[in-house]
Amino acid sequence: MSREEYQVPNTGSGNSPAIGGGSFNAGQRDFSGESGGGVIYYICGDCAVRVPLERDTPIRCQKCGARVLYKERTKRMVQFEAR
């Protein structure tokens, strides 16, 4: 598949040939319950600011415009052996 043929997977439409419309689309997941009103925070790769992203907003830092965003670290405690 060339670069031009590629279609961005779209969970909303459900008729995209690229993802075949299988069980993946059967149960549409609602993300609004998680992380308060569908807003998920990411970290900007350029300016390290916390970027709130909702569904369908472009993946872009509101402050500096960088397109590389990282997931935040888990809020859970992680246990390690000091060895």
């Binding site: 405690m77 992680v78 390690f80 052996e81 000091a82 060895r83």
Partner: protein, 374 residues
């Protein structure tokens, strides 16, 4: 032919390891029964008490040097191994990381924290604190932590911009608050009876407060708690109470024939400073026939001053002018120990504890042997 007891020179020769230009000779012990006809070398506690002695050369909290004279290599080596691997100390064992946004990975950070040596009240560390055992049932693990087997530590650091920094400042430690996380930032949280044993000067704290743990930049944070447990060096090197515990054999330097004048100065330079001294030949020596000093009165001769400082580099054996004039060796039953403590124990207490440990082990073994033959 009746047996003649060995001369002093013969006894000396028997317990000296010969060190030659390219070989080492006479390395193994020979004071065992049936080795020398007519001599009884069976092990005897009274003979051992008569001959054994301990000399301390240096006794500082972090470094002790002492000699065990008149014991076998197996005993000396047992002490060395016990000091490294069997004396219990307290060290960070589990790290619970709530947040770590620094560039250093969680695993690496936990490992670094484990290696930091801690100090604390001696009575609490050695008497009050007991072993922690992982419960057989993993679900009971949270019921296995008590004040007598677990020590809680906390480290909460967040790096911020320093508003008061001078314009054009480039030093990160001045530009930011908490740019460097040091061992002194670790906070001890006493639980239960721990405050009775670990307060004031006896508080559990890093031995060296300036150990750098991580570097941060503004917005980065380290927030974690730690559990310390007792352990032994055979489990992990972080539990070893010594940075190094080693021994070497006492060097022997025998000057067989006189070394005089410029040769003597060259000879002294073959050894570390202070091992060989220069003394003028006395009138009495010069007048003695066959001593090799005849007609050399007033010239400088080489004498052995302090063989303990020698490294036995064998440099003097490489030079033609000293051929046949000097013999190098090591005393087989003279062990010079060097014990370097990491700070939780006094360095001499580590050795005493090793002796007690070996004794207890021997007594345990005796009981089992008695049970075995019963």
């Amino acid at each position: 032919m009746p047996h003649k007891p060995p001369t002093k020179e013969e006894l000396e020769r028997r317990k000296t390891v010969g060190i030659h230009e390219e070989t080492v000779t006479n390395v193994s012990a020979n004071d065992f029964p049936m080795n020398y006809p007519g001599e009884d070398h069976s092990w005897d506690i009274e003979a051992f008490k008569r001959n054994f002695r301990v000399e301390f050369h240096q006794n500082d909290p972090f470094e002790a040097s002492f000699s065990l004279v008149g014991c076998d290599a197996s005993i000396a080596n047992a002490f060395r191994r016990i000091m490294i691997a069997d004396i219990p100390t307290l060290a960070v064992e589990t790290v619970f990381i709530n947040n770590n946004t620094s560039v250093i990975q969680d695993e690496v950070l936990a490992h670094r924290l484990g290696l930091i040596p801690f100090k604390g009240g001696r009575e609490g560390l050695h008497k009050f604190l007991k072993w922690w055992r992982r419960p057989a049932d993993e679900s009971q693990i949270n019921n296995s932590y008590y004040d007598f087997n677990t020590v809680l530590l906390r480290l909460d650091v967040r790096c911020e911009h320093n508003e008061d920094a001078a314009p054009g400042e480039t030093d990160p430690t001045k530009l930011y608050k908490h740019a460097h996380v040091y061992a002194r930032d670790i906070e001890f949280c006493p639980v239960g009876r721990q405050s009775r044993y670990f307060s004031g000067d006896d508080v559990i704290a890093p031995v060296h407060p300036d150990i750098l743990i991580a570097k941060l930049r503004p917005g980065q944070e380290i927030s974690l708690t730690m559990h310390m447990h007792k352990g032994v060096g055979s489990d992990h090197a972080k539990f070893s109470p010594v940075a190094t515990a080693s021994y070497r054999l006492m060097p022997v330097i025998q000057i067989e024939r006189p070394i005089l004048g410029a040769d003597a100065e060259k000879f002294a330079r073959c050894f570390p400073r202070g091992v060989i001294g220069l003394e003028p030949v006395t009138k009495e020596e010069a007048s003695r026939k066959g001593s090799g000093y005849e007609g050399h009165e007033g010239e400088l001769k080489a004498v052995v001053v302090d063989p303990m400082r020698d490294t036995v580099s064998r440099e003097c054996l490489r030079h033609e002018e000293f051929k046949g004039k000097v013999k190098l060796g090591r005393r087989r039953d003279h062990f010079i120990f060097l014990v370097e403590s990491t700070g939780q124990w006094e360095s001499d207490a580590i050795f005493l504890e090793a002796v007690a440990h070996l004794k207890k082990r021997a007594q345990d073994l005796e009981k089992q042997v008695i049970n075995m033959v019963r």
